[in-house]
Amino acid sequence: MAFLLIIVPLIFAVLALAAPSNRWRPLLVPAGGVAHFILTGFALTGGPVTALQGWLVLDPLGKIVLGLVSVLFVVCAFYAPAYLALRPDRQNRVFCTCLLGMLGMMTLVVLSHHLGLMWVAIEATTLSTAPLLFFNHSSRSLEATWKYLLIGSVGIALALLGSFFLAYSSVHEGLAPTLLLDDLVKLAPQLSRPWLHAAFVLLLVGYGTKMGLAPMHTWKPDAYGEAPGLVGALLAGGAVGFALVEQQDVGLFFGLFLGAYALFTLFRMKAITWKLRVATFLIPMGLMAAWPAIPSLLQSYTHNIQNVETSDKESPEAKWDFITQWSFPPDESMALVAPGYLGWRSGEPNGPYWGRLGRSAGWEQTGQGFMNFKLDDWYLGVIPVTFALWACFVAWRKRGGASAGCGAAPDCVDRRAEIIFWGCATLVALLLAMGKFSPVYRVFYELPVVNNIRAPIKFLQVFQVGLGILAAVGMEWMMCCGPSGGVGNNVIAARREAGVPMAPEQLASKPNDTYRR
């Protein structure tokens, strides 16, 4: 099983290398991903997986990481054919081969219990990612690839030295030198301390550079920015994945809004055929939404429905009260701009909270349950809220004009439609967060599954992200709609620095001065 997990993606990589058709080759990526996913399913549910006298072992931590890698890869792999279909001008032979090779090598990293073998696999992962980063063949992707390759390779060369130090710490004590994890753990008390210290420092700095831990993270923003979205997702996905797994219902809520946003961008795109639209957005989005949603549904069933049925099964009203206990009280919106309005935290002696969040139904009459229960603050600040309101105001005022956000300045990207979308989404999220205080949640509550997820205030997180997007656009418009043209130029320069791509018409309107560098 251990060998199969590693070899199957590599076989698909060889097939991709041999496949003659540029059009059909990308389909091997999802095929390889699914095969690996199925094998992972067997490996996770079946008996212990070991091979090569303990060199390859699937330990409990490895199970988590392997599952995550496999799911992430399969989701991204379904996006790959659609992405590559958009780039028929590029040969995708190397891309597909390296993508599948990377999956095989990542699996080897997870399975290997020998530090030397693990090192070889990590370096192989680095090398197979480099051509992926370089897929766009632009000067910027070249720069990102060079930094990634050189910094990553030097980093793990240090890690190799650290591994050697670790092995030597046993030689010094007259033990047989080993790099097998299990032996090292067994021998740990007898190993030589100074060598262990030196090994720890080198391993931390070495693998830390490869992982991009600050302050060795300098390659990271470039690599993520310049790689095709799919590769960036694979590189960065672990962190996001863990975030979603941690609070699945919040992941589901974000999925709802992101799905709506995907549909919105879908209908705004011209010049793509209908089939491609569906393939490009709906399938990966659906999978992305399903991934956090399915465990969330299961969990909400076990946690909420069963609890509701056992504890509060008297009436639908009791269930409604139970589900909406944590609703955002509308009169406390002031706290978004006034920190500490109605206090800070429930039970905090220095700044108690005396608002209504988390109050049990009927507390005023009976005095039973909680008076309130609030643990963290939802203060956002005056300035972001002002910027967000400004963005909405400009979008509304320019309703009739066809031009960009402020008409006069050509530097502004036209984001009116997006502002309208995110303005509505933010408003809806706020209304949903209000739970029992808003009629919108009553409608939402009629939906089959979501009415089992407690605490509508979770939608406040979506509201905060939406407000952040609005504030960013508002700030951009404020800068480039200002009275002096100089501000506009600075924004262009700043945007170039930040790596935000510009539309062709903006390039045309700014002939030489911004390009002299």
Partner: protein, 213 residues
């Protein structure tokens, strides 16, 4: 045979200084190639026997580090038509001085680490640390992409020298894997150097400054 290890390590250390002081790319690459061949000899000496896998390992090391990789680097130099040779950010004299200080510190640090009885008097640990430091110095203070690759190669050589102490711990396959990875890394870097020169008509990494954090 172990008596020959230290003299060869002294030559390896001297080659570090040659690399630090080299103003011409050819000299730099030749120094690294010679270092690679000496590493192959060191494998046989460190093991002290002529078993098949030891010889195979030594031949593979010499072939890759001493012949194939230097040839690839020479090819890259010819291909990208280098106008100015090694462009140091820190001057040659200062580099040599830093290298000397680094070597002295490596010897001092190696003395603080407890060395096993059988390796007590050998130069392996100081030579390894000093070579790693030299590699770092070349990697960080030379601005051409090719010189950065050479720096990486010297750093890797330093790690390799330390590996001599662990001939038994590292199985044959892993050593071969390390070598293969090194080879592919240099190969990919060579391709990227070629692309850099085509894209910017220069191989100076000063051009690679568009992306910021």
């Amino acid at each position: 045979m172990k008596a020959f290890i230290d003299p060869i390590l002294v030559v390896v250390l001297l080659l570090n200084f040659v690399a630090l002081g080299a103003s011409r790319l050819r000299t730099l690459i030749q120094a690294v190639a010679l270092q690679g061949i000496l590493l192959g000899v060191l494998i046989v000496l460190a093991h002290g026997s002529f078993l098949v896998w030891v010889l195979l390992m030594a031949v593979a090391t010499m072939a890759l580090k001493g012949v194939v990789i230097p040839r690839m680097l020479f090819h890259a130099v010819r291909e990208v038509v280098i106008r100015r040779e090694v462009e140091p950010i820190v001057g040659f004299v200062a580099s040599l001085f830093l290298g000397a200080v680094g070597t002295a510190l490596a010897v001092l640090f190696a003395n603080t680490l407890p060395i096993a009885h059988e390796h007590a008097a050998s130069l392996v640990v100081p030579a390894a640390l000093s070579t790693v430091l030299t590699g770092f110095l070349i990697l960080t203070t030379r601005s051409k992409a090719i010189t950065q690759v050479v720096g990486y190669l010297i750093l890797e050589n330093g790690v390799f020298i330390f590996g001599l102490l662990l001939m038994e711990a590292l199985p044959f396959m892993v050593e071969l894997g390390v070598l293969l990875d090194l080879f592919v890394a240099i190969f990919v870097m060579g391709i990227i150097i070629h692309k850099i020169s085509r894209e910017f008509s220069s191989v100076s990494t000063h051009m690679l400054s568009e992306l910021k954090e």
